[in-house]
Symmetry: C2
Subunit: 404 residues, 2 copies
């Protein structure tokens, strides 16, 4: 038997029928399965928790985590800005945020994407000197003053992060040693220099690691401002706040990170006195608010093992199947939606409907009895689910997405 | 420096500008990148090679490998049947094949899918006793005689296969020990019993392993026919023919497999004298015919490493990025499309345009110089590419697909 990840606190105390935002899972699933339900109240509570812990830091939502349009529209009311990673995401962001509150990062921005961002007035996080050259030329051609920030590949690594993005050769940003020169060039070209974007890693659960990284980032920013001879109007400190997906994962102590950042900002270099600091979060804001509901289609035995076959699978939940960015496959939190809090009656594997051995949502886990027609809930499904999965694989229908 | 996989024989001798089906890559890519080009002549040659090696075996195309509709329509003219894994694939298959030539496998078939297949007259490969019960009840309700085959989880493992699917507890098929009982039940229920479907693994490059598995499968089939007291009209031996993706992979000796299978079939149990044997192939037929072309957007240096950033990425080529079904990330065959056959001028990493460190198509590989605007070709891109990737991830446009 293998462990499952921790069911989020909003659901773990429930008994009997799982409810999401006051409605039962069966009620949500009445029309169609598989489906994602996103409970906006949970995402809102995360934002409020951030606001309390980080009173003087702006909050930006990374749309890539969950671009479901109704969710994005509601997030717009809660956060200060949006981070986008493509022209497609930019268009979606512009439906509910002014361009001045949108930052566009990504190592492979095409000329057409740069032109679209400059025309709209979004901030482009420059990923290289070459991209700066292209952006300035395009702005010149359009006759528009571009909003440009410089993305820095920091000489800092976020320890314990699920994906390290700093402290090593990277396709993201310009190396710290060359960043000030690029800032000077952007300023000299007459662009509206919006500041710096520094992202050292993601999915970190260790508060101290984030605290150390943020402190080092602020020192780096002071050094770069000094080198460049210009104070950044805005510094995007990146995100990196992780969420617990797997057994033994412990939730990040965000309040501790906030207190430490508050202290670090109070003592910041006087050159940064007027700089606005922002944190960019995707996963931490929305992972927990999402539940993926999928119906049991078959229950079968093979070689002494029991398989619960569901109508969903890795075409909607690639990460939960262990096939996206993880080396060792571990189980997400799963439950039988009608039997919350009931003791396990056996060990089963929950497999998706795809005709491939990769499609496994729960590997040899202890669950209460699940029969054909029952619903299985996969928790922590609000981030990097529907759009981070191969939806067209094997020709099954897309999942329904509902906002609660 | 890390190695890349072998460029397919159809392309490896080229010098200068890469051509696909007689047109240059630049010509193909003139309208849009990224794109997939599928050279039907290469897929056709694979079919012909199969026909020569397996003169008395039917050939079925597994649509899941590449469901691009124009390709499927042309494959229909070349192969005997189609294997589908969802109602969506079934509908696509029915556009160009009669239902009697279509087999539907998959562990999570919903009632609506079973009804659709029964109404159309496609063969359902039953994955469990429970699915048999549902299929028979639905057929009864519809008033139609269902075509049913029994999928068997063999007590045989395909050694050295990329994904083992037999010889262990499995969500696919019924265990061999229970298969004859299910056959008897299907026959007794008055269904049109179409035979057996036995799939022991996939992506195997070792001819002897496939030979041994096929011989064991034929023995198993004879045993089951004897136990069931009925000869299967058709036996789908599965596929499992691998293709070389990575350095040191050697192409499968298909002729050797064919000769051995021919011998085994000649000596088969007399009860199987009238049984038609089929092999189901996806990847082996179409992987090699596909080239993914993506344009260089940026070339940058970081920490002493060079990154070539392209406008494609894992949203079209998840497997090439090492994030789908592989434990150790290795490089697919890659080339600079304008400099075929030229010596390498340095070591670079080819990264996609997605704002995630997972998006890497070539990790520290030796390549001729590639500048902004050049095309990079990823070979072996015809199977499990466009539809086996998270196309909506980060809001970039889908890849164009063209049939040559």
């Amino acid at each position: 038997m293998k462990a499952v990840g921790p069911i989020p606190p909003e659901f773990v105390e429930q008994q009997g029928a799982l409810t999401i935002a006051g409605r039962t899972a069966e009620d949500w699933a009445a029309e169609a399965t598989p489906l994602f339900v996103y409970d906006l109240a949970i995402a809102t509570a995360r934002v409020m928790r951030f606001r309390t812990a980080f009173p003087n830091v702006a909050l930006s939502y990374a749309i890539k985590a969950n671009p479901h349009p109704p969710l994005v529209a509601r997030m717009a009311e809660l956060v200060d800005g949006f981070d986008v990673a493509s022209a497609g995401e930019l268009r979606l962001a512009l439906r509910s945020k002014p361009a001045a509150r949108i930052g566009f990062a990504g190592p492979g921005k095409r000329d057409a994407e740069l032109a679209e961002a400059i025309t709209a007035g979004a901030t482009i996080n420059l990923e290289s000197e070459g991209e700066a050259t292209r952006a300035l030329a395009i702005a010149d051609r359009i006759g528009s003053m571009p909003r440009l920030a410089v993305r820095v590949n920091p000489d800092i690594e976020l320890r314990g992060s699920g994906m390290r993005m700093g402290g090593r050769p990277s396709p993201f940003g310009v190396d710290a040693a060359r960043a000030a020169a690029l800032v000077r060039r952007v300023v000299a070209a007459g662009a509206d220099w919006r500041g710096l974007h520094i992202y050292a890693g993601s999915q970190a659960l260790d508060a101290q690691a984030i605290i150390d990284t943020q402190a080092a980032t602020i020192s780096l920013v002071a050094r770069l401002a000094d080198e460049a001879g210009a104070a950044p109007p805005v510094v995007n400190l990146g995100g990196g706040f992780g969420v617990p997906y797997f057994a033994n994962d412990r939730a990040l102590d965000v309040e501790r990170v906030g207190a430490a950042l508050g202290g670090a900002l109070e003592q910041r270099h006087e050159m940064l006195a007027d700089t606005r600091f922002a944190i960019e979060l995707g996963r931490w804001l929305v992972a927990e608010c999402g539940v993926y509901l999928t119906r049991v289609v078959d229950r079968k035995e093979s070689g002494g093992e029991v398989f619960v076959v569901v109508d969903g699978g890795l075409h909607h939940q690639l990460a939960a199947s262990g096939n996206f960015g993880t080396v060792v496959r571990r189980n997400y939190p799963l439950a039988v939606a009608g039997r919350m809090g009931e003791p396990a009656t056996g060990t089963v594997s929950v497999v998706g409907c795809l005709c491939t051995p990769l499609d496994r949502l729960g590997d040899r886990i202890a669950l209460p009895h699940a029969e054909v027609g029952d619903l299985v809930a996969v928790f922590m499904a609000g981030a990097y689910g529907a759009t981070a999965s191969p939806t067209a694989f094997l020709g099954h229908p897309p999942a329904t997405e509902l906002l609660a």
